[in-house]
Symmetry: C2
Subunit: 582 residues, 2 copies
């Protein structure tokens, strides 16, 4: 038996107990006749004491030889600590060591195993097994486990069945790129790793398994933007015999359960907003509603006043920065520079200070009088002391730019509070999205999404206007889940594929099995998938997912710890009927 | 709202309630003025009645147009059934339909959606979504979900953390073939799909996450023997600061919990048997101990009696078939033919009838007298009325042959009872296994398994004799789990790789990260993995795993429903820097 207790367990009530502990040496303080060492395991830290008077010479020698991260087993007696440490639960006691065994030595670790380590991202990833010893990473992984447990508990209690769908499936050119897996037994053919179990969960609905879920890895061979992973985890869900309202209720219930059980936060009813409204008020389909700064559209009040820039703009829109009237000219210039950075792309920014005395001072006083500016304040909700910032131009681009400014300002003002949770349903998404480069429409959610009843006809005349029974769950400005009511009729699915540019042959080759299935009594169905990595990170009060993943990959899709991907040998290639083409 | 109740829910207490049901039409009986239809969903079957006197003409017409597997929604009143059906929970009531809506039509399904279907394996797999509507498959999937829930519950309650390990890892030529995944962003390089998360769980132990588990898909590109799948699911577990005994106790606890919660079977303590004993008594490292027929070795009593075949044999070994003395000569000849089939490979079989009067009649009476045969009976535990069957030859082969005979006979005698559960730990496995073809030793469990203390030295002199702290959990003659105490010392791991034929360079290239990790304070650790597919099948009283997998692949590794694997297009190949080499 390696241990009778763990390192987070001993209290004053254990005094005089003989215990066996095992763990890692966190620190050693050698005062000559007394040596203290902190012994650490997953559960905490316990102080060990080696004492020249009470411990054997041999033990003292071993104690003095210990290094950081050595793995040791000790036996000893729990005694009261002379100088107590109120910061740790075991801080009132220490273990007077009577036996010690070094289970394994350690080289000096390449970074400190502390909450605030001296190791940078790269070295922490290379030695991820050491990084996981640190509380922040370890606690994130335990936190993730707890979230997954609660998700499974809630869904199982509500009659959902977790069904494992296959990982070796078929490649489809729709959406992001697939990772493919050459088949040795089927020459020249490939499996693909699933981007999601979408078609399989729909087939489960056709199969009568009317409440399905799965916590499942998904794969996308994308050029990795920051904080994306080629493999990621979804909470994938689907229900049959439901309407959008049923789905929203169930998954609002799940999210409410998580907020309550994991964070102790009670939220009654989640607000809902249409996609159009979200774009109009926040310039963003995943608005952070923990704070205000809603958009005020100024076209009606700011155009046709001799200010050509506004007059030529499709949209003139502003927000009010709370307390921003106090910004210096230099600070405001910096904001203007910020929105003009290529990443944001605004041409410029008009502003108006709302002075405490009720007067206004704007960068366009030449064109607008006090009365005009008072209207701006009304439209943007600006109060005395605020700064109105106005962007203009192409409607979509301007909204995106102003949304970025809104988020940046909120971040600077500390309005994006980690311990505050503001969920929001965004509903009525467009069915199709115009690809500005190609001029083609593609599915905004995916090609299985059902248009709203009675809107099929619009597909031919005004495809961009067709709305879908598609919805996202947004939490603190992040999309944590999204889904839709699906098509369950073969003809409608065929029409949809046609509108998305599939020839009938392509549709049949890739999704024939699904359309076949729809002929055998497919029930109405719909679902939703949560991104577990992000959900966990946001519930954990953070926005980067990497430290909630045990072994993440870097931005080139590499695992720098195991050094993968890597070349394979020629025999393997030959067996797979492949040649490199470099 | 598509339904107020499900189809398994209504009872006499619901009489006169207005209900809405949705589901599939299971059967229709049209008596002209009355039509009955059974409506089915995941939860059960409810009888609908359409009655010329009480239902509108329009409804009667729709009712008469219904076909099997049509999806319908009905509203109606729960009424008492004239002729009750005691076989289903809803059998006392029916729903008098007042409104009906056909939600989707269905072609005639290619096989009947009944517990005993007329569909063969191939067609059921092609239309798996219809197969899943059948109770046996549906219930298996729900059963699997329940087992997984209980596994997670037990392990979480015992302090285990489920950690997701990566699916895109590195190919290693050890063991079975890897499935590989070409990397687009890293030219000419490949990921591999994990055969198990072995190295990652060991790294988690180095990382201090001392109790880990994961229910996880694993992948092996093997030539598929019957009832193997290229992707399969493991309950993967690992613990640090443990000895073999700790691990056996925890996972015996888990298995006991499953037997109790899932099957209502209480088993106190699981018996244990060494590998050597299992081979000697059952000729098999996963003996089915639900029944006896233990091996009796006869070398000492049957050799040197002028019977050359036995005298030349390395091993003479027999079993006693209960009641087998009554077999006719023809039946016994059939048994002899059975063991001589190429799949079994015995040269012949000697037998002795144990007559009810205490006398013996053998096929080798020329060489053995009654006293000799009485000794055979003693060694094999044969009683009056039994038949002693004796095989001889090379020890390993003969054991395997006799084990096959033992299992076959038990099957024929109905001794392998589905509702009886006989778990068994087989311990002290050899560390290495001789590959008879190549003459090389390879790791019996895997190259990370620790030899028993003090046996490292034997590696050079008698590698086959080295025992490992490796163990299997056997249930009803199937290996449901296996594991070992691992090496946690870099030098020992390096020695092991050397003995397995890795050059130091190969070892470093493939497992350098693990050996590096061992230098930074690796704790003693070990673990175990259960095969979930088989565990679930055996708990479910079956031995084939396929019907406990929602979307299995066939023996060529194909998913015949979605028709995968499949060719990919040239652009995809080009992006992956690959050419076909057919």
């Amino acid at each position: 038996m390696y241990r009778s207790h763990n390192c987070g367990e001993l209290r004053e009530t254990h005094q005089q107990t003989q215990v066996t502990l095992s763990g890692w040496v966190q620190t050693i303080r050698d005062k000559g006749f007394v040596v203290w060492a902190d012994l650490r395991d997953r559960y905490g830290i316990t102080q060990l004491i080696f004492d020249g008077e009470r411990s054997s010479k041999e033990i003292m020698e071993i104690a003095k030889s210990l290094g950081r991260e050595f793995v040791v087993q000790v036996k000893g007696t729990v005694i009261e600590r002379a100088s107590k440490n109120p910061n740790i639960p075991t801080g009132n006691v220490e273990v007077l060591v009577s036996e010690i065994k070094i289970l394994n030595k350690s080289l000096v670790p390449p970074f400190t195993i502390e909450d605030r380590t001296d190791g940078g991202e790269d070295i922490r990833m290379k030695y991820r097994y050491l990084d996981i010893r640190r509380n922040p990473v370890k606690n994130n992984l335990i936190f993730r486990h707890k979230v997954a447990i609660e998700v499974r508990k809630y869904l199982s209690d509500h009659g959902f069945i977790e069904v494992e769908t296959p990982y070796l499936i078929k490649s489809t050119p729709e959406g992001a790129r697939d990772f493919v897996v050459p088949s040795r037994m089927n020459e020249g053919q490939f499996y693909a790793l699933p981007q999601s179990p979408q078609t399989f969960k729909q087939l489960l609905m056709v199969g009568g398994m009317d409440k399905y879920f799965q916590i499942v890895k998904c794969f996308r061979d994308e050029d990795l933007r920051a904080d994306r992973q080629p493999e990621f985890t979804q909470i994938d869900c689907e229900m049959a015999f439901v309407e959008q309202e049923d789905i929203l209720n169930v998954f609002e219930g799940l999210t409410r359960h998580l907020l309550k059980e994991i964070k102790g936060v009670s939220i009654d009813q989640f607000p809902r907003m249409t996609y159009d409204e979200a774009m109009k008020k926040y310039g963003n389909d995943k608005p952070d509603i923990r704070f205000g700064m809603e958009f005020g559209e100024l076209n009606a009040i700011a155009q046709h006043k001799d200010f050509g820039i506004f007059n030529e703009a499709e949209l003139v829109v502003g927000i009010a920065i709370p307390g921003g009237a106090a910004y210096t000219r230099k600070e405001i210039d910096a904001l203007v520079d910020w929105v003009r950075r290529p990443q944001i792309g605004a041409k410029g920014m008009v502003y108006a200070r709302c002075n405490e005395d009720g007067s206004f001072k704007s960068s366009v006083d030449k064109f607008y009088d006090q009365e005009d500016l008072a209207k701006w304040a009304g439209a943007t909700g600006a109060k005395a002391g605020d700064l109105i910032c106005v962007l203009s131009g192409n409607a979509n681009k301007t909204r995106t730019q102003l949304s970025a400014l809104r988020m940046e300002i909120a971040q600077r003002l500390g309005l994006r509070k980690n311990n505050e949770f503001a969920p929001l349903w965004v509903i009525d998404f467009p069915l199709l999205e115009l690809d500005e480069e190609t001029g083609h429409y593609h599915a905004m959610h995916h090609p299985f999404t059902s248009p709203k009843p009675g809107q099929m006809e619009l597909l031919d005349t005004d495809p961009g206007a067709v709305k879908a029974n598609a919805y996202d769950l947004v939490l603190n400005g992040n999309e944590i889940g999204g889904g839709s009511i699906r098509i369950h009729d073969k003809q409608i699915q065929a029409t949809m594929f046609r509108h998305l540019g599939f020839s009938p042959e392509e549709a049949k080759a890739q999704f024939g099995f699904l359309m076949d299935a729809f002929q055998y009594g497919a029930p109405p169905h719909g679902g939703l998938a949560f991104g577990l990595d992000r959900l966990v990170a946001i519930l954990g009060g953070q926005e980067t997912i990497r430290d909630f993943i045990a072994f993440p990959k870097n931005n080139s899709g590499r695992d720098v710890m195991i050094d993968a991907p890597a070349p394979i040998d020629d025999l393997q290639l030959k067996e797979l009927h492949l040649k490199l083409d470099l």
